[in-house]
């Protein structure tokens, strides 16, 4: 292909853009080199294309809660190996590796905190820990978080990023869908408010349980959200998937979400909703600002890279 046509089509050259760590970062969305300080100030979203880098559970919670108000719960809950599951690796070895990699004990972080002065319970899945998969511990921690929100009359916020139910705990993982949903039903019956935030990617048993059960469901832009993964669907129906399929904007168009909100606006959105449902006076403007995140984002999930949604 001639040089001129390449330019005409807007194709990028094949020169590798590798940069030293620190100052600059290549955006996983648009491929542009972006100044790290700038995207950090944007809560790890690209200032050129709006791409949302994956961040850790702790960072997500840090961003949402008012400074120094977060108090972790059930941190000592750890997984065992009820099925003595072994594929190419033993499950306990996979767990050990995940713990070492993430410095987390399980795929979810839960606790209490204040959001714009509103007493809340938060839980955030961490995709780095075995793909944010749900097994006994995740289910139990979500159930306990919901129960705590119920008993202490707090708002509930769960942030999802997950490949679904964890195969290594078999049917027990599946049952966590029923467990978390049952507690959310109990919470809802008592008049509790639950806001679900979906981030890239949220699929499988997590989507088919607590993630889709929010009184209000919010998604970050461009997140892959679905029941079945795109590859499974493609293989089943032997058909190419439409552009933007299973992305946040697609779900919004199909009536599955209340709104798509970019990360820097999420705290403000939550506080606005909490203010609406709360009897208390509105908090000071300062309390509505999300905290600045210092740690770098995750590596992008590769499988979905080729199916980015059309840019808005």
């Amino acid at each position: 292909m001639s040089w001129f046509r390449r330019i005409e089509r807007g194709l990028k050259g094949s020169i590798k853009r590798e940069m030293p760590d620190g100052l600059w970062r290549k955006c996983d969305g648009c491929g542009e080199i972006v100044y790290e300080r700038v995207i950090q100030r944007n809560y790890w979203t690209c200032n050129k294309c709006g791409h949302h880098f994956m961040i850790s559970a702790r960072d997500y919670i840090t961003m949402l809660v008012d400074e120094d108000t977060f108090e972790e719960s059930d941190a000592n809950l750890t997984s065992v190996d009820p099925l003595e599951f072994k594929d190419s690796k033993r499950y306990p070895d996979r767990l050990k590796a995940a713990i070492k990699k993430t410095a987390l004990r399980e795929a979810i972080l839960t606790g209490k905190g204040e959001i714009g002065g509103h007493p809340s319970v938060l839980g955030a899945l961490d995709f780095r820990f075995l793909g944010g998969s749900m097994a006994s511990v995740v289910g139990e921690k979500v159930a306990r978080a919901t129960r705590r929100a119920l008993e202490e009359n707090r708002f509930l916020v769960l942030i999802s990023s997950s490949g679904g139910a964890r195969m290594q705990e078999g049917i027990l993982s599946l049952m966590q869908m029923a467990k978390t949903s049952a507690w959310l039903a109990r919470f809802s019956e008592a008049g509790g408010l639950y806001i679900s935030i979906l981030t890239h990617p949220t699929t499988g048993g997590v989507t088919a349980s607590f993630a889709m059960l929010g009184d209000i469901v919010i998604a970050e832009p461009g997140a892959l959200i679905g029941f079945a993964g795109p590859r499974v669907i493609e293989q089943t129906i032997n058909q190419e998937l439409p552009p933007g399929f299973q992305r946040s904007e697609f779900l919004l168009d199909h009536g599955m979400l209340d709104m798509v909100v970019s990360r820097p606006q999420i705290k403000k959105t939550l506080v606005g909703i909490f203010d609406f449902f709360s009897e208390k006076r509105r908090p000071a403007e300062e309390a509505r600002k999300p905290a600045v995140l210092k740690t770098p984002p995750h590596i992008e999930v590769k499988a979905d890279k080729d199916k980015l949604p059309p840019k808005a």
Partner: protein, 317 residues
């Protein structure tokens, strides 16, 4: 014979031989009756040996047996009256889930189950028992009908899974399943769930939350199909046998893990060898359980239902 499984074939051949010899004896060769008896004893021993030692993968094959009774077969055999109801009132009628009003023994219940097809044409209509969101929303409509008129719900679970397709995703497959889990957890009537064949993941659970959950003896219930698990964890679908072993998906496994409350016995060789006996066992079990459930105050049932699911899972603290 093409519908039969490998481990069934020697037994069937033996049974055919016995039948032939018996016919011969009846036709004027009483001297071979002794031989027939010996052969029958041998066949019985062989049968017991085969079914006592079934591997998990063989049980998966039994649960998916093309001759196994499906939801409609059971409804025909256990209900003295059945009126099928259709449609979710939102988008479509999904034939992968059947539901309606039924009289079983002295109980008037709402019965709902996934339905597989018996031949290609029916499988196309039933989508191989893989529901779309409409199926789950039809089920939800019927749950609410049951609650309104204070009728117990009986669900029969038999699906490879919820359908992974474009339309299913567009119309919120995940939401439809999640909504059912949420609503079933607090539905103010007794719910009895029986996995009669294949309990395929979220697609099974979508009608599978209840006060009592039972499995037929050779049914399976799993977070993912052995083939799907093998593809992801072994990188090779043909490792499904190993995945089936690792997943611990048989009725005895689930009873041991505390996920189900009991097992409904099947005739030797599985429900398809003697559907009538299988249906009688199922009916007896339904009537017995509905007896307990309908005598319990609904507040107690709801409290116990939440406790039941709260207990599920194993972890260290």
């Amino acid at each position: 014979m093409e519908s039969w499984l490998d481990f069934e074939k020697p037994l069937l051949e033996l049974e055919k031989k016995i039948k032939d010899l018996k016919a011969l004896a009846d036709a004027g060769h009483p001297d071979i009756l002794h031989e027939v008896e010996k052969l029958e004893r041998f066949a019985e021993k062989k049968r017991r040996e085969t079914y006592e030692k079934l591997t998990r993968w063989e049980r998966v094959q039994l649960a998916r047996h093309p001759l196994r009774p499906y939801t409609n077969d059971y409804i025909k055999m256990i209900a003295s009256w059945f009126c099928e109801l259709h449609g979710d009132r939102l988008f479509a009628e999904d034939k992968a889930i059947v539901g309606g009003l039924a009289t079983i023994g002295d109980y008037r219940v709402v019965v709902i189950g996934q339905q597989k097809g018996r031949d290609t044409k029916e499988n196309l209509a039933r989508n191989f028992g893989m529901p779309h969101p409409e199926g789950y929303r039809k089920a939800l409509r019927l749950f609410r009908l049951a609650a309104k008129f204070d009728k117990p719900v009986v669900t029969l679970v038999d699906t490879p899974g919820a359908f992974p397709g474009i339309g299913a995703e567009e119309r919120g497959q995940a939401e439809a399943i999640a909504r059912n889990l949420f609503e079933m957890a607090r539905l103010p009537v007794p719910i009895l769930v029986i996995v009669i064949g294949e309990g395929g993941s979220g697609g099974a659970l979508g009608i599978g939350v209840g006060d009592v959950v039972l499995m037929m003896e050779y049914a399976i219930y799993s977070v993912i199909s052995p083939e799907g698990c093998a593809a992801i964890l072994w990188g090779d679908r043909s490792k499904a046998q190993q995945a089936a072993e690792a997943l611990k998906l048989t009725a005895p496994d689930l009873l041991q893990l505390g996920v189900i409350d009991g097992i409904v016995p099947e005739p030797t060789g599985g429900a398809h060898r003697d559907p009538k006996t299988a249906a009688e066992n199922l009916k007896r079990s339904i009537i017995e359980n509905l007896g307990h459930l309908t005598r319990t105050p609904i507040e107690t049932l709801l409290e116990r239902r939440l406790e039941k699911y709260s207990r599920m899972g194993v972890y260290k603290e």
